[in-house]
């Protein structure tokens, strides 16, 4: 732990990538540091302003089509996030943000260039052109995280039209296996059945970069994932007593989503 210097959490373009409450991820990280007696600072990076390259954790959230393209253009032009990740910063990218950190993503009928931070690509559909594209993936999502992460089950809510897949020879590994919902949709739901949960995966973990389709916000519903990000920056963290509320919520989600 670096005494005196606050951990800086950059919330990138909340006006563009804040449609689904993902700004909550910044609140969760900040508070979990502060409750441990560690100084933290949320750096709001409004759209149109320079992204600083000096932050410790970067957050990208979900957003609608036009804002997503605006955000991607802004982030690509100044390469601050790429530089910061290259020198050890952590990045959590959710939904539209997850699509943006990959190679390419669809929006408004066109394919746009992403940040190329992770080896994924997103399309409206990967099915043959003559088959109708799958429906929007909307609903509760449950993901069993990759054992290497040593995390408990991830709960969240997804809402996206795109389907995502790893590029050949991609680095890193999927965040986890989808137990309920669609996620990336590669195997589970890309046939448009909408059922999902057929063993497809969601998200990516590559170095200190995490991408996922989970809203909720994901760190509020899954505090262990928040602490994993913090550990990447801080090393071992002091134990945290509060809050019990998150455990109660996870138990409520487990009960509500059991048996489906």
């Amino acid at each position: 732990m670096r005494r005196g210097s606050a951990t800086r959490i950059a919330l990138i373009y909340p006006e563009l990538l804040g449609t689904y409450g993902d700004g909550g991820n910044a609140i969760v990280l900040e508070q979990r540091l502060r409750w441990r007696g560690l100084p933290a600072e949320v750096v709001n990076v409004p759209a149109g302003s320079q992204v600083p390259d000096s932050c410790d954790i970067y957050l990208l959230g979900g957003g609608e089509d036009a804002p997503q393209v605006l955000a991607a253009d802004g982030i690509r032009q100044n390469r601050a996030i790429v530089r910061a990740v290259g020198s050890g910063a952590a990045l959590l990218a959710v939904c539209a943000g997850y699509q943006v950190i990959g190679a390419t993503f669809p929006s408004g009928g066109e394919i746009h260039e992403g940040l190329n931070l992770v080896d994924i690509e997103t399309r409206r559909s990967f099915a043959p052109p003559e088959t109708p594209p799958p429906g929007r993936a909307v609903g509760d999502i449950v993901v069993e995280p990759d054992p290497r992460l040593n995390l408990p089950t991830l709960y969240g809510y997804e809402n996206h039209a795109g389907r995502t897949r790893r590029l050949p020879g991609a680095g890193g590994f999927p965040l986890g296996v989808v137990r309920r919902g669609i996620g990336d949709g590669e195997d589970g739901g890309s046939d448009g059945s909408g059922g999902g949960g057929g063993g497809g995966t969601d998200g990516i973990v590559d170095g200190r970069v995490v991408g996922t389709y989970l809203h909720g916000p994901v760190l509020a519903q899954n505090p262990a994932l928040a602490d994993l990000l913090l550990t990447w920056i801080h090393g071992d963290l002091p134990p945290l007593e509060a809050p019990q509320e998150a455990q109660v919520l996870r138990e409520a989600r487990r009960r509500a989503l059991a048996g489906s």
Partner: protein, 431 residues
């Protein structure tokens, strides 16, 4: 007679008189009979007001019924994400100064509900109609309203995404087709202002907008909007229109060049904005502003909103407040700050009608509740509890709103509920 369309700016038509009884097609006469029977049966069975089922059946009997009963009378349609019901009620009171008024006061705001409101005599009565945002084009095409009020567009249910821009775009196209309709539009909402810009005649009202997060991107060119205290603008030239009516204080409205005072019984600045919109629409239908505002005073609750009800058997009471999205919650925060700090019960659900995704509560500045006693209940009470924990707002969690009220430090509490939670509370408290 049928009133002459194509009214000019500034002219105020006298109350319309209709001496010739309207002739409906046989099909529509049958539809109206069916509507009445169904509504009565539904009421007898205790299934709500029967507006939905009666209107649905009638539209099946005569798909053209809405156009027949709705056109050729003085109608105003009210649409927007927040404030539709209240604004419609205020407008109905203002129009009531001229004669009988029809209104879908039960809140059934799609085509069947609108038809039910219009399907009883007198068929030349004016009408104040609440219309769902998505249904507005369909309804307005049928009845060709004299006035359409566009209040605001913000995120409502997260699982119906990508809608704000789509709604604005639908409304803009609608206006281009309604040649004889005046739009009363809120200039403080860029999506609304852009949508209304495509209409043939506008009355611009500054009704306020304390939630800007859903209107950061220009609806016209998709660039970032610029904002300052005087308004908003975009590099493409789209900018906040100059309003002719504006809320300028807690009890003050700028009205066509003069300042008038307005005292409502409904609380909060947000309702003064609703009243300004309603008064501007009423003016287009021939009501003087003084008469309109006087008629609006005296309205103390709208479908249970702002009403104080009994909570449980122990003499506890709660003022019911509805907040179903971030914009609505921010309005309620303002309203709570205006009054003495009572305990607040938050009743939070995520059923289909609420939107299944509760993530939006992380956009609400719950930190502002610090210092009050906060009690949480509802189907997603655990999510709300986590949100409040991270906002460092001490709170307790309860099985029901009645239990929460029982545990409160005072006998009267404020209850902020979202859609289904509010509906269920209202049903329970009126038993």
């Amino acid at each position: 007679m049928v009133f002459v369309s194509g009214h000019r700016r500034g002219t105020v038509e006298s109350a319309m008189t209709t001496s010739i009884p309207r002739r409906f097609t046989a099909r529509t006469q049958a539809a109206l009979a069916v509507e009445r029977l169904a509504a009565e049966a539904s009421r007898r069975l205790g299934r709500g007001s029967g507006e939905m089922i009666g209107g649905k059946l009638a539209l099946r009997v005569s798909p053209g019924a809405l156009a027949e009963v709705g056109s050729h009378r003085r109608t105003a349609c009210v649409s927007g994400t927040n404030g539709k019901t209240t604004t419609t009620r205020l407008l109905a009171r203002a129009l009531g100064t001229l004669g009988p008024v029809k209104s879908n006061s039960g809140g059934a705001n799609m085509a069947p509900g609108v038809l039910a409101a219009l399907s009883r005599p007198p068929f030349d009565a004016a009408a104040a109609l609440e219309v769902d945002e998505i249904w507005l084009p369909k309804v307005a095409h049928e009845i060709s309203p004299r006035v359409v009020l566009l209040l605001n567009i913000s995120r409502d249910q997260l699982d119906r995404s990508n809608e704000t821009r789509r709604i604005a775009s639908m409304w803009r196209e609608l206006g281009a087709e309604l040649r004889d309709t005046t739009v009363v539009a809120n200039v403080d909402d860029p999506l609304v202002a852009w949508a209304a810009g495509g209409w043939h005649r506008q009355v611009w009202v500054s009704a306020g907008q304390n939630w800007t997060a859903d209107a950061m991107v220009c609806p016209q060119c998709a660039r970032l909007l610029h904002r300052n205290d005087n308004g908003w603008w975009s590099e493409c030239g789209l900018a906040r229109p100059e309003p002719i009516v504006a809320v300028t204080g807690q009890r003050e409205i700028l009205w066509y060049g003069r300042t008038i005072s307005a005292r409502l019984d409904l609380p909060g600045r947000v309702n003064l904005g609703n009243a300004a919109m309603a008064a501007a629409a009423a003016r287009e239908l021939g009501v003087e502003v003084e008469a309109a505002l006087a008629a609006m005073t005296g309205l103390g609750d709208v479908q249970g909103r702002y009403q104080e009800v009994a909570l449980g058997e122990q003499g506890r009471r709660g003022r019911l407040l509805l907040a179903k999205n971030p914009a609505g919650w921010v309005e309620m925060m303002e309203l709570l700050a205006d009054a003495p700090p009572r305990p607040v019960v938050i009743d939070f659900n995520s059923q289909t009608a609420d939107g299944r995704d509760p993530s939006w509560i992380w956009d609400v500045p719950f930190e502002r509740l610090a210092g009050r006693q906060v009690l949480v209940t509802g189907g997603r009470k655990e999510d709300m509890s986590v949100r409040l924990a991270y906002a460092e707002v001490p709170h307790s969690v309860h099985a029901s709103a009645e239990d929460a009220a029982q545990a409160a430090n005072e006998k009267v509490v404020d209850v902020v509920a979202n859609y289904t939670a509010f509906r269920d509370l209202l049903v329970r408290s009126s038993r």
